[in-house]
Subunit: 281 residues, 3 copies
């Protein structure tokens, strides 16, 4: 499932059961998310709308990109993903529609789409310019509703991507920070603290394998300025309740966790905190 | 889109793809919202259910009405909107079904429906009395589930509005507070602080135009007891990050914002805080 | 509606309009819930997905079971309910599929399904073992996505329950704590504090009736160590704003509430606090 590729690369969405996902930093207390869904359903009656999250930290393009990239592989081929963390709304930043091998991404040109895009194969990046596919009155502060969701809904209806504008190579190529491997030590950073307090790093399973770390051995973990020995396990229950361990989380990244407790609070970690993994003790 | 009118005024909902929206002060930690959706789907299999928000401040009928009114124009004609902020549940307050030119509104008779109703054209207000269209066991504390959602789902199935009860003219006519214009000064108040901390006032774009305020000029804004000069701009990026500005938000109201920061915290504003706009300095 | 039984007991779900509900302790800030929905829609295009809540207190199996049991009766017969509060994920705990008279329950074998199961009639408990119906790469930390939602979606497609594994009688039989009735006194405990601060106890309407308490009489309520006389009413408005009362909440349990205020804060009650009801004063 996770590795399943779309049956064929298409430039139009099959209009019988289109799926549109939404991700934003809008929170859930305002009319904004509801309005976006109203716009989609006004244009595309058959669209199935799925919220990924609307609780991205305000204006945090990189966190939005990380969460989007973690969820996207689980949706069927042809899904349209709208991501709106958009501090530059109404200004000169472009509006983008990205077609990858397996899916479509719609959002502002600030890099938020590119983590999810680059983990698949980018086929085309379109700068959205055709006013025909936005609402007739485009507000200057809410392109999520007036541009991105309108475009997604028209795309769901089977409008070809070329209709929305022209191909561009000039867009923000945000990259996820990569960990540094020096000898037997991997140095990375915290990219997300999840709702359980699990400390998600940018260190991948493949990085751990490259250096030769093996499951069920003890490793040395430095979080910020504190160093601790812990198990490199497979499941939370590999250690007693309340004990720390490192494992590969469900998105394929190394996490520092505490069995049935909040690792971020216990280890004082937050986004950007340095994490390094080594063998020495 | 925003101004598009329904193709025709109807007294029954077209039953092929009915949309029901939900708004409440129930929060998202309890079984309440899920139960409402179960009731709808038990009666109307084809209904598409959309959450506007369930985070209205507890018992705050006016805030619920404001958010409802801001979201409603973006949904297709014929959409059924259920709004449940209902401190008087089980008491003598009526249950209402309002048919406007473009949509249906279902909820308690405490005014919550009337901001959204009056911005469209009210065609009929029905007092819901027919026990046939509620659940067989109506609880005394949860009419959102047992009455309003049941009625909405039967309406979605094509039941005519006259079936639910008789027309009434005796209902709560809650009005949104209107700003006061004296000479060159507009005095209003904060009606909503959004999730970004934007300070949404009850001053409309048309009020600003009436007094002759023009975009990209400096204006004098008094929030509570503090007066400050700021730009009356068009987009957040019209000022530097961290600077205040006034602009027309996505619902058509004047907002005081801080570019990429939380204006309500910075200016100490909350719902009800007085805001006035003038030219003098 | 509430008492309506499914038209017939079935071992396969009717695949024309399957409903899958989701309940978890995942919160709404991570890619987890979105990923689960992507998995479901990848397998079962027609599934209607409904969130009950994702805000169960972390690892609190009993609270999850309580909320699930309160929502489940309102869904149509044949609905598939997935509940994931799963501190033992990846360890030796089983994965279960429970078929009751009216619905299906899918989740970990830690008791979370059994409150909802036992209020209906349990027909079969299946231990999920067939790897064919999980994702090809099952993570060790996220069976909600890789096992439970995949199973639910295949079930929604009409796969027979026997395909998922073999029947078992060896599963965790979590029971909801029962109140104790001694003479004219009922002693129970707080099982949930809802979003309004209503104090939900494990004392049922039938317990109150058994002892002979009648509506609109005064009763003596002890919450923790504080005793107070209050009305045993029917609706919040039976007492003045700010006054306490006892009533039967929408799920059929005795609640201590304060009209338009937060009873849990005012009475210092939380989950597990002892509550007793008597006549004496």
């Amino acid at each position: 499932m996770r590795k399943k590729s779309p049956s064929a690369s298409r430039e139009v969405v099959s209009p019988d059961s289109p799926i549109i996902t939404l991700l934003s930093d809008f929170g859930s207390t305002d009319p904004y998310v509801g309005s976006m869904k109203g716009v989609i359903l006004s244009i595309s009656k058959k669209a199935t709308i799925v919220d990924i999250t609307h609780s991205v930290a305000k204006f945090d393009v990189l966190e939005g990109g990380f969460i989007l990239a973690a969820a996207v592989p689980y949706f069927p081929p042809g899904t349209i993903h709208v991501a709106v963390v958009d501090p530059g709304v109404g200004g000169r930043r472009k509006a983008l529609l990205v077609k990858t091998k397996g899916y479509y991404l719609v959002g502002p040109d600030n890099g938020i789409l590119m983590v999810a895009a680059s983990q698949d194969r980018v086929e085309k990046v379109i700068e959205i310019t055709n006013p025909r596919y936005g609402l007739s009155q485009v507000s200057s502060t809410f392109h999520g509703r007036d541009v991105f969701c309108a475009v997604a809904a028209h795309l769901a209806n089977g409008v070809s991507i070329a209709e929305f504008g022209s191909e561009t190579n000039d867009y923000v190529k945000l990259e996820f920070p990569k960990p540094d491997i020096t000898g037997q030590t991997i140095s990375g950073e915290v990219v997300h603290v999840d709702n359980f307090g699990n400390i998600v790093t940018n260190i991948k399973f493949t990085d751990m394998a490259e250096v030769g770390f093996e499951r069920n051995t003890m490793i040395t973990v430095t979080i910020g300025s504190v160093t601790e020995r812990m198990k490199y396990g497979r499941i939370y229950g590999d250690v007693a309740v309340g004990e720390s361990l490192a494992l590969i989380g469900s998105a394929g990244f190394l996490e520092i966790s505490v069995n049935q407790d909040n690792a971020a609070s216990i280890h004082g970690a937050k986004k950007g905190t340095r994490v390094s993994i080594s063998r020495c003790h």
